[in-house]
C-alpha cells in the first residue's frame, strides 16, 4: 500500500467527549458477517443513478420532518422519507435536522444532495442518466424497525419503477 495514502479520521471534527462516547458503540474488530453485493451491470456512463441522503431534506410543498417529537423523545427519530424531484431548486427545499447545522445545505443543497453536479455529469456522459427522483430520510434512526418498512422499501420500489441501477448515499 502506498505510504502516502491518506487514512481518514472519522472523528476529527467531533468534540472529544462525543467522539469517545460514540466509539463505545462501535466494536474494535472488523465486521465479519456477510455483506450483500450487486456488481454494476454496465458501465457508469450507461447506468441510471439515484441519490439518497439522510440530511432531512424535504420540498417546501411537503410536510417537514418531525423535530418536535424528537425533542420530547430523544431516542425517537422521524422514520418517514421524502421524494425530491431532480430539478428541484434550492429555494424550494426545506431542511430539518437536529444533529447538524443545516444552513449550508439551505444555501447550496449540492453539499449533501448533489443533483446539480449529477445533472452536469449526465450532460457530459459521465453517468448514463440521473434518476427522476431523489430521496431524503432523517439521519437519526436509533433501533427503529419501522424505518425499513416505512422508508427503505417504498424508496426501493420507486427506484425500481424509475429503472435505477446505482445509488449514491450521503449520510448526515
Amino acid at each position: 500500500m502506498d505510504q502516502q495514502e491518506k487514512r481518514v479520521d472519522g472523528f476529527r471534527f467531533m468534540p472529544p467527549g462525543l467522539a469517545a462516547w460514540i466509539q463505545t458503540f462501535i466494536p474494535d474488530e472488523q465486521f465479519n458477517g456477510p455483506i450483500p453485493w450487486t456488481p454494476l451491470a454496465r458501465p457508469l456512463s450507461q447506468a441510471t443513478v439515484a441519490l439518497i441522503t439522510s440530511a432531512g431534506i424535504s420540498c417546501k410543498s411537503d410536510p417537514p420532518f418531525d423535530m418536535e417529537r424528537e425533542k420530547r423523545e430523544p431516542t425517537w427519530g422521524d422514520p418517514t422519507y421524502r421524494c425530491i424531484p431532480r430539478n428541484t431548486a434550492a429555494a424550494d427545499i426545506d431542511v430539518n435536522h437536529l444533529h447538524i447545522n443545516t444552513d449550508y445545505i439551505r444555501k447550496d443543497p449540492d453539499v449533501m444532495l448533489p443533483l446539480t453536479r449529477l445533472a452536469e455529469f449526465e450532460a457530459e456522459g459521465i453517468i448514463g442518466r440521473l434518476a427522476q427522483t431523489a430521496y431524503s430520510f432523517y439521519g437519526f434512526q436509533w433501533q427503529n424497525e419501522r424505518f425499513i418498512d416505512e422508508a427503505i422499501r417504498p424508496m426501493a420500489s420507486r427506484m425500481k419503477s424509475e429503472q435505477v441501477e446505482a445509488v449514491l448515499l450521503t449520510p448526515a
Binding site: 472529544p16 462516547w21 465486521f31 458501465p43 444533529h99 447538524i100 443545516t102 437519526f140 436509533w142
Partner: protein, 110 residues
C-alpha cells in the same frame, strides 16, 4: 437491503469507523465536516472531484466491505467549521453524563 434488491450502492461517509458495526458493500471515506460531505458551499469544482472519486468506486470496487479513503483536505481547522446544530441535539443532551464519563475513560487510557 438495497443491494439485495439489485441496486449497486456506494456510501460517501464522514465516519467510516461505523463499518466495524455494520457490513457496507462500498464505502468512500472523506475527512469533511458533517452536513457538507460533497464540499464547500458554492465550490462546484471541489464537489465534482469528490463525486467523481466516489462514483468511480461503483465501477472499481471488487469485493464487499472495502473502504476507499479520499485524499482531500478540508481547508478550515475543525474548530472553525461550525457544523454543529445551533442547539445541542436531544440525544446528546440526554446523555451528557455518559459523554463526560466516556471522555474521562479515554483520557485515562491515554
Amino acid at each position: 437491503m438495497l443491494e439485495e434488491d439489485g441496486f449497486t450502492t456506494v456510501i460517501l461517509t464522514p465516519t467510516h469507523e461505523f463499518n466495524r458495526e455494520v457490513g457496507i458493500p462500498r464505502s468512500v471515506a472523506l475527512e469533511y465536516p458533517y452536513g457538507r460531505l460533497l464540499g464547500e458551499v458554492g465550490d462546484a469544482d471541489g464537489q465534482r472531484q469528490v463525486l467523481l472519486a466516489t462514483l468511480a468506486v461503483l465501477e472499481q470496487a471488487q469485493a464487499p466491505g472495502q473502504v476507499k479513503h479520499l485524499p482531500f483536505e478540508w481547508p478550515e481547522d475543525p474548530r472553525h467549521t461550525h457544523w454543529h446544530p445551533p442547539e445541542m441535539s436531544p440525544i446528546v443532551k440526554a446523555h451528557l453524563d455518559d459523554i463526560k464519563r466516556a471522555r474521562e475513560r479515554m483520557k485515562e487510557r491515554g
